[in-house]
Symmetry: C3
Subunit: 327 residues, 3 copies
């Protein structure tokens, strides 16, 4: 997409101290941190000043009041709401969810040896499937997805485009891998604009994913399910999460976007975590527990909502229960 | 269905002060409020006396003890358990979930221009699909459902019969729209009788529905998802709910039957609401919050279960936490 | 599988006081309680001493320190981690999830009269379907599963192999019946080994199962959903659970493995129960309630987490709320 087209779509003012080539091609929207030459990002929050100074981004959406914070070599697009403008633009950068079979971009799938694929399975353009993998009826494998060796994808699973799945993986029926994250920008009329998600999901080796579990794709970059992770039924993993090796996510637990679990974390049944935090390795969150801030010490058990260390929670519940006797 | 057949099925006594034509046709079971001539309803709870007096219903199931409350012009069927008898009858009024392809009632779908429909998609009788809409593999569109323009229905979605979906709608994989509500009548032996759901689901424009989310059809009337609503993964919306414009339902939240959300309500992750209440516009329910009664003031944040205004909840949690120090 | 092969796989020492035939065939892994001649089990927990003494098992995995507890007639395999070794073995005893259509073991399905089966339905080897049953598009019926008469299986349901379903059953879209339970054995490096689940799910008559609900198969034996049970959407029922007659499981509730509900139990929305407990008949668990130990008295209402009798919980919440006024 040309810079001139972006300016036209957003009806926006442009500032550059180093001259502007409006025919310049913008290849991608990206985060400040990962952004490269020829890519566009936004600056909205002063918390990300360091990312800004180290960024290789070419073009940035920015409020007038933040203009002076932006390094000279970055082209500035002055926006009344950089987040909403980025959402509006993201639609134009969205990867199509599916290449048409009759399109010239369509690439035939590469299927390994000794693979079983049921008749009603949909295999998208550019899919790669390793040896000995079995894909049962009604399953959908989106464009450019890769599945390793010796994996078993049970019936009626949906794997969106560009998903990468390792070896010895089991995915149970009804699971959805790579659906769009829940990300919207809201304007002054309280209307929500979809942020198109062009990242993906990467699943390691020896992972098992339960029935009707959902794992969202990243907005930029990747959602990671590391080697040896076991996920139960009806679990939600948000966009850009990183689930550490050998972690266990018990049924109906949920992890909001961009949260990182260390290795061997256990999330109990119906427990949950807010987004954008870290949970230390070998942490155990009891059933129904709610995590609202990062857990920095490894190997502890936490319970309740708000969260306490398990022994404190037990003690506290005993104290609370005695209030009843006193009444 | 003839009145005489209803009497025979329920083995029930009939009373009418205005003469009875047992050949009279009963077209539908309906609520007292919306009931029309030729329809049947029930009276069980004195709370609905005003609805009763204003009702245009022709026939009513009623306990002997409530007989005198019923207006003269309504035909009375005396029932030991009006709710159970209504459930038993509802089976006979149920709309078939699917018209057979070889039936003479089968109507070919009307498909717009530039529509993509995958091979394994099921399109029922009388379906209408607007221009530029894409329907991916394994999706099911039940009889008489309507989908607007520029919508994207991802793989393995199920849309039950008579569902109405607007323009620019995205429905993610595994979502189920229009399944029967969880409604049963229980007899004196604690057995549950299904109340067949003949209402539907109506989804507005610019709505997005997450993976494996479920939205139940109304028992009578409609379940509404208004314009601009965004629903995350694994959310439950009960029968006859009305989700106001631009509301956000975060992952694993649930709303029980007949609850009405004003515009721009946010239900946090794993939060829930009981049925038959109203939540005021611009209300925010924090993650894991539980709503048990109507919220009448707009624009406030609520947390916890039981629910407190957010600041009070924070204060209260601090007080509770100090109990631990004192012990 | 021969005993000699098991010894080779596990690289394990064998002890028998009654002579060993290493060509002896081991037919199955089973629990101590249900184990029969020619089957293998494990002993790990002294809690199960009585089961051990009454067991008809032929071979047992056991730690050296427990050796003297094992009856003489049982062949002992000395294991450093009997649970992990059992998990490793379970893979070899796993029932294949699907017999190939061209295999000589493939048995054509037996379909009753007046049955409707959509084109895209997958019907496995040895499936039996009763009269008047309807199976909608995209549904999968695994090998050797049996469905009774007058049942309705809606679109995109997945029924794994060996499931038994009664008469007059309704299963809504996206439900998954018979997926593997969440059972793993963990070794000294905190790696998890899958315990293959060879049990099944048995569903009685007049059961209704909601959209996107998941019911796991038993590891050994059966998961039971008894007659007249009604299950709402997005509910999780763990492996080896037994849900008593006419129980109601409301949306997003979850029951962990091996828990037994008496008849007419109600689990409110978003409520949960730990595994391996019993809940007495006619118990009601309020919405969001968390059950952590067996409930032995019938017919009571319980609320909160931790759980209190409902009236106590209300009183307690009032007391807690007053703490706020005092502050």
């Amino acid at each position: 997409m040309k810079l001139s087209e972006i300016i036209a779509i957003l009806e926006i003012k442009i500032i550059s101290e180093s001259g502007i080539d409006q025919d310049m091609k913008i290849h991608r929207i990206n985060s400040l941190k990962d952004g490269k030459k020829g890519e566009l990002s936004l600056f909205e929050n002063e918390k990300y000043k360091t990312d800004l100074l180290n960024s290789n981004i070419s073009v940035i959406l920015v409020r007038e009041k933040h203009l002076e914070l932006i390094p000279k070599n970055i082209i500035k697009l002055i926006s009344k709401n950089p987040y909403v403008d980025m959402a509006k633009l993201s639609k134009f950068f969205a990867i199509n969810d599916q290449i048409k079979t009759d399109s010239e971009n369509y690439i035939k799938a590469k299927i390994g040896e000794n693979v079983e694929i049921a008749e009603t399975v949909y295999i998208g353009s550019g899919v790669v499937i390793g040896d000995n993998t079995k894909i049962r009826a009604g399953t959908y494998i989106g464009d450019n997805s890769v599945i390793g060796n010796d994996s078993l994808i049970l019936p009626n699973v949906t794997i969106y485009h560009s998903t990468i799945i390792g070896n010895h993986v089991i995915i149970h029926s009804g699971a959805v891998i790579g659906s769009d994250g829940f990300g919207f920008a809201t304007n002054e009329f309280s209307e929500h604009f979809k942020i198109y998600h062009n990242g993906n999901v990467i699943i390691g080796d020896n992972v098992e994913i339960g029935a009707n579990t959902t794992i969202d794709r990243a907005v930029f970059g990747n959602t990671y399910i590391r080697n040896g992770v076991k996920i139960d039924n009806l679990v939600q993993v948000g966009h850009n999460c990183d689930i550490g090796e050998n972690s266990l996510l018990v049924a109906q637990s949920g992890i909001a976007g961009s949260t990182r679990l260390g290795r061997n974390v256990v999330m109990g049944g119906q427990s949950g975590s807010v987004g954008h935090i870290e949970i230390a390795p070998f942490t155990i969150i009891s059933g129904k527990g709610g995590v609202t801030k990062s857990i920095k010490t490894s190997g502890k058990i936490w319970s309740g909502y708000p969260l306490f260390q398990h022994n404190d929670w037990l003690k506290l519940q005993a104290i609370i229960s005695r209030l009843l006797d006193k009444s």
